[in-house]
Each structure stands twice: as C-alpha cells, then as structure tokens.
C-alpha cells in the first residue's frame, strides 16, 4: 500500500469540508482530527516499505522524516489551535466567516507543505511553495488590523519576489540538465535529476543555485532577506506563527538543500559552502543582536527562528558528515522546540491580553505549569543541556573548530550573544512579580509538554533509523 495519496488527500478533503462548517468549535476539532489522520497516514511511511517514485511524488531518506515531522507538528498545532481559536472567537476578535476561512486554509497549508516535501518534480515543488505562501498570507492578515495587513502585504511582496527568483533558478536547472537528459518531464524529476547530475553543465548549475538560494532563501528568512519574518510571526494568529517557524521555514530550506545535493553530485560545480556560511553567520549575528531590544514576545521568538535558521544554514555550509548531521538534527529539533514555545506564548498572551513582554511579566508566579514550560522550552532553544538542541549545537561547534578555527570562534560568539539576549528577555517574561491576568487561562498544556518531552528524549537518545537517514542524507549533501 502506498500512503502518499492519503497523506496528500486527507488535508485536501479536510479543507473542502471545513470551508462549510459554520460552527467554530466543531471546525477547530475537525481541523485537529484531519491533521491527526494525516499524521497517522504519514506514520504508515515508517512501517510500510518505501513507495516507489512516481511522476508526482517520491519518498527517500531526506523527506521521509520531514513528512512525519511536518504532519506531527501540524497536528499538535491544530490541537493547540482549537483552544486558541475558541478563545479568540469568545472575545470577538474573529468572526465565524473568518474562522471558516482559517480552518480551511490551515488544511490547504498542510497540503501545500507536504506536497512541497514529497514532490518528485522541481516545478511542482515550486508551485507548492507558492501555494503555501499564499495561504500563510491569508492567515497573517486574518485579524484585519492595520499592522496585520501591513505585515501580510510585506510578506506577500517579498515572498512573491522570492518565488519569482526561485522559478528563474528552476528554469536554469532545467536548462543545465537539458543537454544530458533531453527535453521533457524527466528533466524536472528529482529521482532522475539526482542520477544524472554529474553530466549537467556546471556553470549553468552555479547560476541556477544563486537564484534558488536567494529565492527560497527569502522564504527561509535568511539575512538580509528576512524583513518579512518578524512581522508575519507577530501579527498573525499564534498557531500560524508556530507552523511558520516550525514547518514552513524548514520546507523552504529543504528546497535549497535538494538543489545543493545536485551541486554536490555534479562535482564540477562551485562549492556552495562559502555562500551558505556567509548567509548563515550574518543571520546568526543580526538576529542574536536583535533579541536584546525586543518588547513583543512573538517578535522575540521570531528573531530566534532567524538565528536558528542561520545556525542550520551555517552547518550545511560547512558540510561534511558531522556538520551536515548536526544541521539535519537541528532542523528537526528546532521545529519541535520552537512550535512548543509558540504554544506557550499563545496561551500566555491570551491570558494577559497582550503580546508585550512587560505585560506578561512574572509568568512562573501566576501560572507555574505554563511559566516553567516556557522556561524549559526557552532553555532548550538556547541550547542548554540536557535538551536535544545542545547536542546538535555541540556537534556543530566541535566539528567546526578543527576545520576552521576562526569560523568556530565566530559561531560560538554568535551563539553566546543569542543566549544572552534570550536569557535577558526570558528573565523579564518568566520571573518577578506577576502582572494581573485579563482573562482566565484556558487551553491545553499537553502539546507543549509533549514537544518538550520529545526534545528531552532526543538529548539522550536518537532512534536508529533516524540516525541512518541523517547519515545517508549527510553523505549526499556533500
């Protein structure tokens, strides 16, 4: 049995159904139910044999864990979203028509991200990323306030330009492949591109990669293409911030890495390492420094996402089995941890009726379970042991020092600056005398703690198949 039609079909059917559910509570739980079914379908991938590549979709060591990760986080975010949305509807911030739109769009977004991951065609992948961009633009503008419309417009224009450049890169890849593969669909399919990559024209491939890096890099939020990211995270509904940070950035990065594999397989093409290292380090430094002056809690963690995307990009820029392994692990764990943080942030901001850090002050005193959960998740994202992100950062730093000591120093410095910024801001959020709640705290803490548990386990133990996938992908990333 091939679970791929289910993985792609359930979100689409869910979207069609949710567009007609007028009652928001029911819609919220059906949304979580549809995402849960998608998760079950994607778990089948782990049990059954890997399905053979078709014209449309394929599964290999790289996208299998990303598909599972994406459907897992999409499920917990939908679970969190059900409570979150009930609260927003209760205080009248969202009307029923918008909620219907929201739930339908949530499923379309899941579909688009999963399609981008499994697509066996660089054109289909491009269209899926475009669809994901459009749906998130709708979600970011959901509150219809002036700031949210401004954020959505900015995201829209920058995202569209990125998408346009990515398409130019895609056309160039086709052109580079054409000599070796001839015209037709085959020259766009990943499964055949990977096999034929050594025969591509290296110069064209280089030029294509620059366009693809800038194009998809805009969606990853790499400095200096990051301007849309903090606004889009801060002004949209919090479940969408969690999905944006946890999943969509990964999907865009996945696209960049797939093309990097082509370059690595080609041999004569330029080594993209220095480009990635420069963009990664500048993202790390700019975002880390930006952490210090944040007053809006969602903006704070949005900058932290840019920082981590920088770390991951740096890791893939260094290349080699160890650094690539660290990058892949960091990609997965950042996704789990950052979405957990946004769940906590969403609940806290709803209870206090504000996203401003000085209004959230003293969270551990007023809501111990939520407050300490947020402290633990922030400690995890800052790279403290015993959480899994410590391991990936440790592997990255220790593998960088012997190969490039100066880059190692820069990386460590960036990490420390980011750590300081987060610690400083976390102190204001979590400790001290509690501010007064405006609304009672509702919503489940389970998604937050489930994610924390996963990150904690990953700090001590990684399952064998995951390590095998990471190793095989790390090898083909070069």
């Amino acid at each position: 049995m091939n679970p791929l039609p289910l993985i792609l079909g359930i979100p689409l059917a869910g979207a069609a159904m949710l567009a007609f559910i007028p009652e928001h509570r029911l819609g919220g739980w059906l949304n979580a139910g549809a995402s849960g079914l998608t998760l079950l379908a994607s778990l089948l991938l782990l049990v059954l044999d890997t399905p053979a590549a078709t014209q449309v979709a394929f599964i290999d060591d790289f996208n299998i864990y990303l598909v599972v990760l994406t459907s897992f986080v999409a499920f917990t975010a939908a679970w969190f979203s059900a409570g979150y949305i009930a609260h927003e509807a209760g205080i009248g911030r969202l009307t029923p028509a918008y909620l219907r739109l929201y739930h339908a769009m949530y499923q379309v977004l899941s579909f688009a991200m999963l399609l981008a991951l499994v697509a066996n065609n660089i054109g289909v992948m491009w269209a899926a990323v475009e669809l994901a961009t459009l749906t998130t633009v709708v979600m970011v503008s959901l509150y219809r306030t002036r700031p949210s419309l401004e954020a959505a417009w900015k995201y829209f224009i920058l995202g569209s330009v990125g998408i346009a450049l990515a398409l130019f890169g895609t056309i160039l890849v086709y052109l580079a492949a054409q000599k070796a593969m001839g015209p037709g669909m085959e020259a766009l399919a990943w499964s055949s591109l990977m096999a034929e990559a050594p025969n591509f024209e290296p110069e064209l491939l280089n030029l294509a990669f620059v366009f693809l890096l800038i194009g998809y890099g805009t969606k990853v939020g790499l400095v200096p293409l990051h301007a849309w990211l903090p606004d889009a995270h801060a002004e949209g509904p919090t479940p969408i911030s969690a999905v944006l940070s946890g999943l969509l950035l990964n999907v865009a990065l996945y696209a960049v890495l797939r093309f990097k594999m082509l370059l690595a397989a080609n041999g004569d093409a330029l080594a993209p390492g220095p480009l990635l290292i420069i963009m990664g380090l500048s993202s790390l430094f700019v975002a880390s420094l930006m952490l210090y002056r944040r007053r809006d809690i969602k903006r704070l963690f949005a900058f932290s996402s840019i920082e981590h995307m920088g770390i991951i990009t740096f890791a893939f820029g260094m290349g080699g089995p160890l650094a690539n392994f660290a990058g892949l692990l960091h990609m997965a764990l950042h996704s789990v941890t950052k979405s957990a943080i946004f769940y906590a942030v969403g609940l806290a901001a709803q209870a206090r009726g504000s996203q401003q850090i000085d209004q959230i002050h003293g969270l551990t005193a007023s809501h111990p379970a939520l407050g300490w959960g947020l402290v633990a998740a922030t400690a995890a994202i800052a790279g403290l042991p015993p959480f899994g992100l410590f391991m990936s950062e440790f592997v990255l730093v220790s593998s960088t020092f012997p190969r490039a000591p100066l880059l190692g120093v820069a990386l460590l410095l960036g990490l420390l600056i980011g750590f300081g910024g987060l610690a400083l801001r976390l102190h204001g959020i979590a400790f001290g005398e509690a501010e007064r709640d405006r609304k009672p705290l509702v919503g489940s803490l389970l998604p937050l703690y489930a994610h924390l548990l996963l990150v904690l386990i990953a700090g001590a133990f990684l399952p064998g198949p995951l390590v095998a996938w990471f190793n095989s992908v790390a090898e083909s990333l070069g």
């Binding site: 503008s141 419309l149 401004e150 130019f168 054409q178 809006d296 401003q356």
Partner: protein, 221 residues
C-alpha cells in the same frame, strides 16, 4: 530561409518585451505605466505564440492566450478600476530621477548579458540570447519595484518581472509545465489585485514618520 526568419522573429518579439520594460520605467503617470505594461504583455503573447509555432509546441499557445487575455487586457483594466475606486494619486512618485533610473536599467541589461552569455556557451544561440533578454526584463522589473514608491506601481513591477520569467520559460526549448506555471502566476497576480482592492492598500508602508514605524513594529511601550 525559414531558420533565419524564425531566429529574427524570436529576437524581435523578445526585444519588444525588453523595450516595453524600459517604457514602463520612464512613465510619469499611472495610466501610462498601465499602458506600457499592457504593451509588454502583448509583446510577450506574440513571443510565446511565435515559440509555439516555431517549436511546434501547441501548449505554448495557451501561455500566449493567458498573457494576452489576463495580463494584456484584464489586469490593466482591473488596475485602472482600482485606481479610480480607491482614488489613488495618478502621478508616479520616483525614488531617483528618470535619467538615473534609465542609466541603471542599461547597466542591468549589460549585467544580465555578461552573466548569462558566458555560462550558456554550449546552449543554442537562440536560447542563450532569449535568456539574457529575459533576465534583463526580470532585473528591470525589480528596478521598477525598488524605485517606484506606491503599491500600484510595485505590483506592475512585479507583473513585468513575471513577464520576464515567462519569456525565459517559453524560450527554453521543450520546457514542461510552462502553462501550469503561467496559470500559477496568474493566480498569484489575481490574488494581489484582489488583496489591493479588498484591503485598500494605496501605498507602501515605509515612511519617514517614525511614530508609525514604531507602532507598526509593535515595539512601542
């Protein structure tokens, strides 16, 4: 005989797309910008139709029809209507003078040529020259987006950038999915136009008024 005619006609049509890009750049009134953009889309439609004929690829006629109908007629009409309904200023605000912008555009064309021609040495002459022109159109579209201050001209800049992409896609022989791509882009543009009207977006959001920036960033105490 036919071979040189095919070559010349492809050159002519793609050069017209580029030329229209320059025309968009020096307009001082919105109406002129829309007309120049419509002209560019017609030139693109002609280029796509000619490629459809000379490559014997009938699906490219669909791309040509989309370029003509959607971008050449519907989008300019919609833009006109939006400008009237939202009562947007009819003159174009430019960041630099027209002369400086045109010089920059000439620079971009040279850049595109210098970038594309050396790396495509082994491709067919027609493909590489079309690609160089297409990249020039893309870069000039960027220039329009950067140097024009309001949302309407930014959108036109984006659409003309997209015309450049489509020119590249139809120029590469045997490229699959071109029609699907032009449909996807038309969807994107329809979405942008709809959003502009629906949200009454008139201008870009960068402003020298620091107060509004601070409130926007959510960083005000």
């Amino acid at each position: 005989m036919f071979a040189t005619l095919a070559y010349d006609l492809s050159h002519l049509t793609s050069a017209m797309v580029l030329l229209a890009g320059f025309v968009v750049l020096y307009q001082r009134r919105l109406l002129g910008v829309f007309r120049a953009f419509a002209g560019q889309s017609w030139a693109l439609a002609a280029a796509a139709a000619w490629q459809a004929f000379s490559q014997d690829a009938p699906h490219l006629y669909v791309t040509a029809a989309i370029a003509l109908g959607f971008k050449g007629i519907a989008a300019p009409l919609a833009l006109n209507w939006i400008v009237r309904r939202l009562d947007i200023h009819r003159t174009v605000e430019t960041a630099f003078g027209i002369g400086a912008t045109m010089l920059a555009a000439v620079g971009l064309v040279s850049l595109a040529t210098l970038l594309v021609l050396p790396v495509t040495a082994s491709s067919a002459a027609l493909t590489r020259e079309t690609l160089a022109i297409a990249l020039s159109v893309v870069l000039i579209g960027f220039l329009v987006m950067i140097t024009r201050r309001n949302a309407v001209t930014q959108v036109v800049g984006f659409m003309s950038l997209e015309n450049g992409l489509m020119l590249a896609a139809v120029g590469v022989k045997g490229m699959p999915l071109v029609v699907e791509m032009s449909v996807a882009f038309s969807l994107l543009i329809a979405f942008i136009l709809f959003g502009m009207f629906f949200f009454r977006i008139r201008e870009r959001f960068d402003t020298l008024d620091l107060q509004s920036i601070e409130s926007f960033r959510g960083e005000r105490r």
